[in-house]
Every structure is written in C-alpha cells, then in structure tokens.
Symmetry: C2
Subunit: 479 residues, 2 copies
C-alpha cells in the first residue's frame, strides 16, 4: 500500500471512532458527540460491539463492518485492546484501501516506561504502518480542523472560534488549556489543532512541514518537549518561518523538568541552550512563559507584522505605563518612537490642554480628561505616522466612557488609515473582568487586548523579533 | 501646633471633602459617595460653596464652617483653588486644633515640571505643614481603610473585600488596577490602601514605617518609582521585613522608564542595580512582572510562609506541569521534594493504579482517573509529610468533577492537618473563566488559585525567598 498523506487527518471522507461510548461525560462519548456535531459530511461511524446505536448514529461491531469510506480512524479503547484494532486497520486498508489516518487517543504505552508497554506500542505502530497508514499519538488528543469540521478530541468544543492560528502540541492538556483560557473573552480563533502525544509516527517536524503550505494557517503555536532529530526540526522550521511565524514554548528546560517530560510523553528534552540557539537561528519565536506563549500566538493572527521597532505608548495611566516602557526597552530590541514636531502639534490639538505629548519622546499621556473622540483622533494620527511601527494603548477604562464607545473609538482610529499603513495596536485594559464587554468587542473585531502592560510590551518585542528575522534573512515581502 | 499623627488618615473622627460635586460620575462626586457609604461614624462633610446639599448630606461653604471635628481633609478642587484651601486648613487647625491629615487628590503640581506648578505645590505644602498638619499627595488618590470605613478615592469601591494586604503605591491607577483585577474572582482582600502621588510630605518610607506596627497589615505590596532618600527607605524596610513581608515592584528600571516616571510623579527613579541589591539585603521581595506582583502580595496574606524550599507537584496534566517544574527549579532556590518510600506507598494506595507517584521524585501525576476523594486523600498525606514545604496542585478541571466537589476536596485535604503543620498550597486551574465558580469558592476560603503553572512556581519561589531571608537574619519565630 502507498503511504497515506497527512492531509487525510484533516480532510477525511469518513471518521470511525473505535471505542465510542454511550456513557455521558466519558471521553469516548464526548469524542463522538463533538465529531458528530462538527462534521460537515455526517460520515461519523461509532464502533463498539456492545451497542447498536450511540448518539443517534448507527454503531458498528468492528471497523471492518463499516460499509462506507473511512479515512480517519480514532482509537479510544483501553491500551490492551488497541493492538487488535491495529490489526483490523491493516486488514481493512489492505482490503479496501482507506483507513490511512489513525489518531490513537488511548494512553498506557511508552510513556509508562515499562517493557511491556513499550513493546505493545512498538507492535501496534509497526502493524498500522506496515500498510502505509499514518499514526498520530498514542497518548494524545488527536486533531481538530475547525474549517473542515474534524474533531477527535474530548476537550475542544465545537463552538471554538475560527481563525488563522494552528496549535501543535506534544501535550493535549496544554493545548486545550490555551483554548479554555481564550474562550470567555474570545481571545483566539484557530484553524487546526494537533496534539502529538508520544509521537510514535507523525512527529512535530512533519506536522510543521505540513502547516508551511496550509493556506489557512497564518501562525503556528508549538508546545515542544523534545524530538529525536532536532537538526531536522530546525531545517524544516527554517523553511516555515520564511512564510509564517512559529511561536514555541519548550518544556524540559531544566533537569527536573526534563525528567517530568520523560514520564509524560517519553520525550528526551535535550540541552536547552542548544535549542535556544537553534530557535534564534531559524527564526522560531520562543516564549518564556505560558502567558507570553498564549498572547504571542494570537497577536500574529490578529495584527500585521511591525515594519520596525519604534513603538509609541498612548496612555491615561502613568504608573502602569512606566512599567510597560521598562519592559519594552530593557532588552534593547524595541525603542520608543521619535515624534516629529508636526506630530506633537497635531496630537496636542486633538487632546485636552493637560495632555502630555512627547515627554519623553514617543510617549503620550492623555490624562483623565478624555473622550472617545480623543482616543479615535489620536490613534488615527499615530497610525498614519511612518515613524511609528507599533502602538501600545494603556487604560484603566473610566466609568464615564462606555465600553462600546471605547471599542468603537479604537476601531475607527485604527481603520482611519488604508490597510498597507496598518501596524500592530495592542490595547491594555487594566480592569479584570470589569470591562469584559469592551474586551470581547475589541477581540471580535481583531484587536488584541491585554490585562498587563508589561506583558503587552514583551509580546510586542516578540513581534519585532520576527520582523527582524525576516529582514535579516531577506524575506521582506510579507511586511 | 503639634505635628499630627499619620494615624489621623486612617481613624479620623470626621472627613471633609473640599470640592465635593453633585455631578454624577465625576471623581469629586464619587469620592463623596464612597466616603458616605463606607463611613462608620457618618461624619462626612461635603464642602462646595455652590450647593446646599449633596448626596443627602448638608454641604458647607468652606472648611471653616463645619461645626464638628474634622480630622481628615480631602482636597479635590482644581490646582488653582487648592492654595486657598491650604490657608483655610491652617486657619482651622490653629483655631480648632483638628484638620491634621490632608489628602490632596488634585493634580497639576510638580509633576507638570513647570516653574509655576512647582512653586504652587511648594507654597501649598508649606502652608499646610506650618500648622503641623500632614499631607498625602498631591496628584494621588489618597487612602482607604476597609476596616475603619475610610475612603478618599473615586476608584476603590466600598464592596472591596477585607483582608491583611496593605497596598502602598506612588501610582493611584496602578493600585486600583490591582483591585479591579482581583474583584471578580475575589482574589484579594485588603486592609489599607495608600496612594502617595508626588509625595510632597508623607512619603513611602514613613508609610512603610507606620505599617510595621499596624496589626491588621499582614503583608505590604508596594509600587515604587523612586525616593529621595533610598538609604532611609531601606533602613525602615529592614525593620518592617523582620515582622512582615514587603513585596515591591520598582518602576523606572530603564532610562526610558525613568523618564516616564519623572513625567508622572516627578520621581527620580535612581540606579536600578542599587535598588535591586538593597532590596535583597533588607528582605524586600521584588516582583519582576505585574502579574507576579499581584499574586505574590496576595499569597502572603492567604497562606503560611513555607519552612523550606522542598516543593511537591500534584497534577493531572503532564505538559503544564513540566513547564511548572522548569520554572520552579531554574533559579536553584526551590527543589522538588524527596518522597520517602512510606509516602509513595501511602499515596499510591489512595490513587488509581495508573497514577505516577514519584517519577521524578517529588512529582505525582494522578492521571485522568480521578475522584474528589483522591484529591482530598492525596493532599492530606502531602500536608502531613514534614519533608514537603509547599504544594503546587495543577489541574484542567475535568467535566466529571463538579466545581463544588473539587473545591471541597482541596479544602478538606488542606485542613486534615493541624494549623502548625500547614504549608502553602497553590491550586492552578488551567481553564480561564470556565471554572470561575470553583476559583471563587477556593479564594473565599483563603486558597490562592492561579491560571498559569509557571506563574505559581515563580510566586512560590518568592515565598521561599522571604522564608530564607528570615532564616538568614535569625527571624525564625514567625514560621
């Protein structure tokens, strides 16, 4: 048999869920429900010898009994039963020619570290691969494709927003936490979601390579524990980053963390310094914290890449802005923009008499005497000025400006210039859930918001790093 | 006249609000409303020559007309009118003997950097001080004392929770952002709240010294831009930290940030390396990010100080825990605890057969086969073990465990040991607002929760730093 394409995971003509369960709330029930709810074709086939029908779908006794085309097989049975399913996949593929993509959600394999578990995984994978089928997992949550209506997870709800972010993760829990974090305030829209678990066949490198040519993937957020061939990963990453950004968080940086990673997905974390240097060389943007990872991934989807490192601060709050400027300038990669006399005069003209425009250079404190129109007008002037590459707007939204008015002012200020003039605009709303409605309005329109001004600064630096990488590698056309 | 005590700001027999306004939503109206709503005595006196009554309170034409005792005067008029108020304060204090505490909320003084504004501030302050009264501000939001019902701000709502945290800040917006951040999930309970603005009289050093002996202050969270006498600040801080922790965030670390601070409160930020070294020497715990500052302040209020640096990870999610262990161990200040064989056996006995107990040492992955009772029993065993100094529990709460059951299990596990055995327990709930109810239940019972496991680790390290400081300075009795 020919080897199946990775594409089969994302565009299967039919999906079989082996071990689908009728027990409400169980993972194997949830997987079926999500698959059914999201499917654009309706070709979802539960397999469970003890049931005739689950969730209103005809249930089959085995994979071999399904009369229709099944490109994607999801294995969600106990580890001891998984080997038998592998042989059925081989049999089916050799007989019918489909079943080329296999997502093994079951755990209890190599990550346990026992000889039996390792042998079981090896035989299962070898069996499936012997007929040219490809495997994601085991010990993973498989794949989601929001646009194509594919979902093998029990944790990514069908209501997840569409966007240009693709998540690749060795940890299922880590990837789903990202979406749960984002949900309430609509912070993230995704395209694809791939959790790789033990990476017994398809690994992070091959997945990355696939996403390079995936048109709907605008940015890749990658959680990495380790890989057996770091050099190959970096070679592939280099070709990807010339087309779209990769944001990575690397786990197992320390000896203790590396031991945890090994007990988790049998990964070998490797020397962190080598990874760190390699990431820089191939243009992977490394996040130092989970919060930074979450935000950096999403801003690349929502905002254009900055043309340079000259950032303007527009604020109504001095203290938080001081901390923002510290974080922005401390690495030397970003600087406050230089305001021309004309810009200072024109911004002063649209703000109140108390406003501080340009002390220090690149910094504007509108003070508390503000209106929505001032926000809009000031933003429009800053957007139009070519000596500014990005804007961080910081506010503790005052009670006398309504959420809708504030969101609209930001949107109108940003959109006052044509698309080719646009630059990243981050809005820091320091108010917890108190202005949740304003946050959601902005996020829905594609304007990233933040809670902490220093985090916004660090994420802006990450955007600048990618911009610099493209420039230094002669890849300017995207900007 | 004798110099008034700082105490008058927090326990005034009467409060006059100069410039109180009837205009709904304006700061000067809000200050009056909050003062009235929170006052335990009812002695709140609006002063405004254009009104007879505001918010149901008799309004006076000037401070001099108030027939009752006024210990605290809040100035909330335009800068140009503030000098006249200063002379009235002097007149009243010399005639009646009260009016010893003055909070100047008005802005438009030294922070503008103009000669006139500086001269105006100087004359105003000199006038007030000449009669022994003390000044907080100008360009600040003044003080809050939640227990005594005092509130001179327009931004700290009367519903703010009571607790042991006292906030001292040169930036009003920064301090109120902390409370807005905390509000929805009830993350923080405060005692006092002091914003100092331009620090023309009472400064951060004197405020710190006062809090050393303030019994309800269990921990101090301090936002600092700069001080004219750093040595004195450190001397005072040293005596405070022998009694209670100080968590600080220092703004103006960079040249650009320092310029912003100067335009904000006329502060001189000073050399950051000197501050950094001095903080360490006197036991001030420095937060590197706003998020870390917010959390570190609050955990010292909610949890006991750890006796050592041996931390146990209890988790259901491998990936996020790997990142947590990286963050926990990377500075060398914390380590994973060592489990005795007895502990491993007893923890294994209360968890499912799949659970990983002690691989690596100090680490427990309960896996997805969990019940509330397992959480409770495992926590109780870890709490009782003297080779563990702190616990970080990490979960993406599964759908099959109810929020209330989870919160109760955590509480019962923690409380299974007597108070003297208690150690810090952080609960990381990686789920955004999806488990907001569980978060609130835990926070209300005094159990700090987190969104990010690496942040929890960094905050645990901050607790360990303070514990180490106390040990190395012979101050062990608090632990």
């Amino acid at each position: 048999m020919n080897e199946a394409s990775i594409n089969a995971f994302f565009t299967p003509r039919g999906v079989a869920i082996i071990g689908a369960s009728a027990r409400q709330g169980s993972p194997s029930n949830q997987i079926l429900k999500y698959s059914k709810e999201m499917s654009l074709t309706g070709n979802v086939f539960p397999v469970n010898p003890t049931a005739k029908e689950i969730e209103g779908l005809k249930c089959y006794g085995s994979l071999l009994e399904i009369p229709e085309t099944v490109d994607l097989v999801v294995i969600s049975v106990g580890a001891s039963k998984a080997l038998n399913v592998a042989y059925e996949i081989k049999e089916r593929r050799e007989a019918v020619g489909d079943a080329g993509a296999v997502a093994i959600v079951s755990a209890g394999f190599k990550e346990l570290g026992t000889e039996e578990a390792i042998a079981l995984q090896d035989e299962m994978i070898a069996t499936i691969k012997s007929c040219g089928a490809r495997v994601i997992g085991p010990n993973c949550q498989g794949v989601v494709d929001i646009y194509n209506g594919i979902n093998t997870t029990f944790s990514v709800p069908p209501v997840t927003l569409k966007g240009g972010l693709t998540i690749i993760s060795q940890s299922g829990a880590f990837a789903t936490s990202y979406l749960r974090w984002a949900k309430d305030h609509k912070l993230v829209g995704i395209n694809k979601f791939v959790t790789l678990g033990n990476m017994a066949d398809v690994d992070v490198t091959e997945t990355l390579a696939f996403m390079a040519d995936d048109e709907r993937t605008k940015v890749i957020a990658m959680y990495l524990e380790g890989t057996t061939d770091a050099r190959k990963l970096m070679d592939v990453a280099k070709s990807v980053t010339s087309k779209k950004p990769i944001v990575a968080i690397k786990a197992g940086r320390t000896a203790a963390g590396s031991n945890v990673a090994h007990s988790h997905t049998a990964s070998i974390a490797g020397d962190d310094n080598i990874y760190d240097g390699a990431f820089k060389q191939v243009g992977i943007i490394r996040a130092n914290t989970i919060a930074e990872f979450y935000h950096t991934g999403r801003v690349f989807d929502k905002m254009p890449i900055p043309k340079g490192n000259r950032i303007c601060i527009l604020t109504v709050v001095g203290g938080p802005s001081t901390i923002c400027v510290d974080a922005l300038t401390e690495t030397g990669e970003a600087q406050l923009a230089h305001f021309s006399d004309e810009l200072v005069t024109s911004v002063q003209a649209v703000l109140s008499g108390n406003a501080n425009v340009g002390n220090p250079d690149g910094y504007i404190d509108m003070t508390a005497s503000i209106t929505p129109v001032m926000h809009k007008d000031a933003l429009a002037l800053l957007m139009a000025d070519d000596s500014i590459d990005g804007i961080i707007f910081i506010t503790t939204p005052p009670g006398f400006i309504g959420s809708e008015d504030l969101a609209k002012a930001i949107e109108e200020g940003y959109n006052a210039v044509p698309e080719e003039k646009r630059k990243p605009l981050f809005s820091v709303l320091m108010a917890g859930n108190a202005v949740g409605d304003c946050r959601v309005m902005l996020e829905e329109k594609g304007f990233p918001t933040f809670e902490y001004p220093d985090e916004a600064a660090r994420v802006m630096i990450n955007m600048i790093r990618y911009s610099n990488y493209l420039k230094h590698n002669g890849v300017d056309e995207r900007m």
